[in-house]
């Protein structure tokens, strides 16, 4: 791949990347507190949860689907893994419990969509309510807290001064980028989103791969629950309300098309960071909370508008 091809291939990411860089530059000029090592790590840590959920969302949206249940699955996984951790189980067991709950919920979504032939919007909307109810039922509506220091290390720990949530996020992105660009699962994800009929006719096991994609999305919500629970040293059954919207926003800002068949993991990372940087910057500047919402919403709209304009150009 020569430079010209690369620019063509990653062109859309350059647009969002430039946006992110401009945003950072402006905040750097406006606030002396923005561009410090501790604040950059702070932003990365705050972005990690949304960024991880957004990876699953990217897979789902590339298949032309949507997952509205991620926030509720996060809450359900959270209370389950918290109860396991609180009971004194080793940390890996607690993590596995959280991932398993997420994976199961995601697979149920996948089965309803493939074998039940439900539109993703409906099946994940149902799961959004079911998982939330399950989280409330399981925890009796109360937050679960009180964990060992080794569990809390998942959020408060650092390796070479890099906070654990950031390390986990980086690993997730490396793996996801590899899976999406270099494996069968990745190629089929694009194929299904591009033209499901064609994928089916060319022998792709559409049902299997589609269900797998929703499973991944659920499992990553479970992973986000691990970080959130360790971070707050408490799992709340009401956690993660509207997180699906943040994840969808990060994905579409990152250039993934809601029509399916298009998207990159790198783009989603940039999208998640645009949202994280924006929230952090607006806090540093002391902007009113109401205006923050207007700004964040506007950025989502503008990013997608620009993205659409760019796409038209390249065609």
């Amino acid at each position: 791949m020569n430079l010209k091809d690369m620019i063509h291939h990653y062109g859309r990411q350059f647009g969002t990347l430039i946006g992110l860089l401009i945003l950072c530059t402006v905040l750097w000029i406006l606030s002396p507190f923005f561009l410090t090592v501790s604040n950059v790590l702070n932003i990365a840590q705050q972005t990690s949860i949304n960024a991880i959920i957004a990876v699953g969302m990217t897979f789902v949206i590339i298949t032309a689907g949507i997952d509205l249940s991620v926030g509720s699955i996060l809450a359900f996984s959270g209370v389950v893994l918290a109860s396991v951790a609180k009971a004194g189980a080793p940390v890996p067991v607690a993590i596995a419990a959280g991932l398993a709950v997420g994976l199961l919920c995601g697979l149920v979504n996948g089965l309803l969509i493939t074998y039940g032939k439900l539109p993703p919007f409906i099946s994940t909307l149902g799961m959004m309510s079911v998982a939330r109810g399950a989280a409330l039922l399981y925890s009796d509506g109360r937050p679960i807290s009180g964990f060992s220091a080794s569990f809390r290390f998942l959020a408060t720990g650092e390796i070479l001064h890099i906070p654990m949530p950031v390390i986990i996020m980086i690993l997730v992105y490396l793996i996801a980028h590899f899976v999406l660009t270099r494996t069968k699962l990745g190629r089929y994800t694009f194929a299904i989103g591009g033209n499901e009929e064609a994928a089916l006719l060319s022998g792709v096991n559409v049902k299997f791969y589609k269900a797998a994609v929703y499973g991944i999305s659920g499992m990553l919500s479970g992973l986000a629950a691990v970080i959130l629970t360790a971070r707050l040293s408490s799992a709340q059954p009401i956690a993660g309300i509207m997180y699906e919207l943040d994840a969808i926003a990060a994905t579409v800002i990152g250039g993934t098309s809601l029509m399916g068949g298009e998207g990159t993991i790198v783009g989603t990372l940039i999208g998640a960071f645009i949202m994280g940087v924006l929230r952090n910057g607006l806090n540093l500047l002391g902007v009113s909370s109401f205006i923050q919402q207007i700004v964040i919403g506007s950025v989502i709209i503008i990013a997608v508008l620009v993205d659409m304009a760019l796409k038209k150009q390249s065609k």
Binding site: T16, L23, F33, T36, D140, L232, N283, L285, S289, V295
Partner: protein
Amino acid sequence: MKSKLFKLLPMLMLLLLGLTISTCQRGKQKSKEGATIALVLKTLNHPFFIDMQRGAEEAADSLSVNLLIQAAEREVDVEKQMQIIENLIQRQVDAICVAPSGSRELVPVILKANEAGIPIITIDTRVDSAALVEIGAEVVTYVGSDNYEGGRIAGEFMVQELDGTGKVAILEGIPGHETGDARLRGFHKALEDAPGIEIVTSQTANWERDQGFNVFQNIMQSHPEVDAMFACNDLMALGAIEAIAAANKTGEIVVIGFDALNDAKIAIKEGKMRGSVAQHPYEMGKIAVESAYKVLQGKTVPEYIPVTIELITRKDLE
């Protein structure tokens, strides 16, 4: 053409930031030299917290300190509140006054503030002291109502209004919130001495008005004999009185709320509610900022600063 479009995104982003900057400038005009105190509320779309904000602003004005006010979009979103506090630590504010969205979840970030040498003052909701001790975090003071006492006053009034016999339903807040739990404990305590009063059901309506309506409507279906209702906040009580009105039972069911919001006072005047326990959020905001100021001056403040709490009934409003 393509390069022109590439320029479009940054330009639009700049435009947006322009809007942001202009707002900041407006904020800056008000600011004065001196310490910066941050006030982090649970939300800004609740009259209680808007009053608290006003009290804090008045104190900041008279003490000539800068006040930064932030809140999460949703009251229950304690993770966002945590992010706000982390960002304020980065911003190197001098003190943080916070009305915690959760009793334990903020403990890790309070520790971070401690490490950065920023004193934390809690308002309205107490942070679990055992959780603080466990990781060695510290809160300078708690400014708030004695919610237990408030619940107890409400319970005593309930016993009085029912002449010692009757069936009572309770609308709880979000489970696990120290504020609501203390009100419940106080209410239960007052009812202990009245064997004729039975609590038939106690359910959550998550502090919200619309849920108060729905939950109480369901309660009236399952317990048509219910004589009275205590709601842990007025929004839920206000929702419930609409459900009562829809069932043509206005005035028949004794309703007691908490917070004495303006709408609740009107409802009390109209006989739709019997009473509400008044808190003084304006005072809370004011005292919190004043305490933060004292701490920054090197003075000590007591670890608990109670704010007056009282029952408001029709008599008080006439």
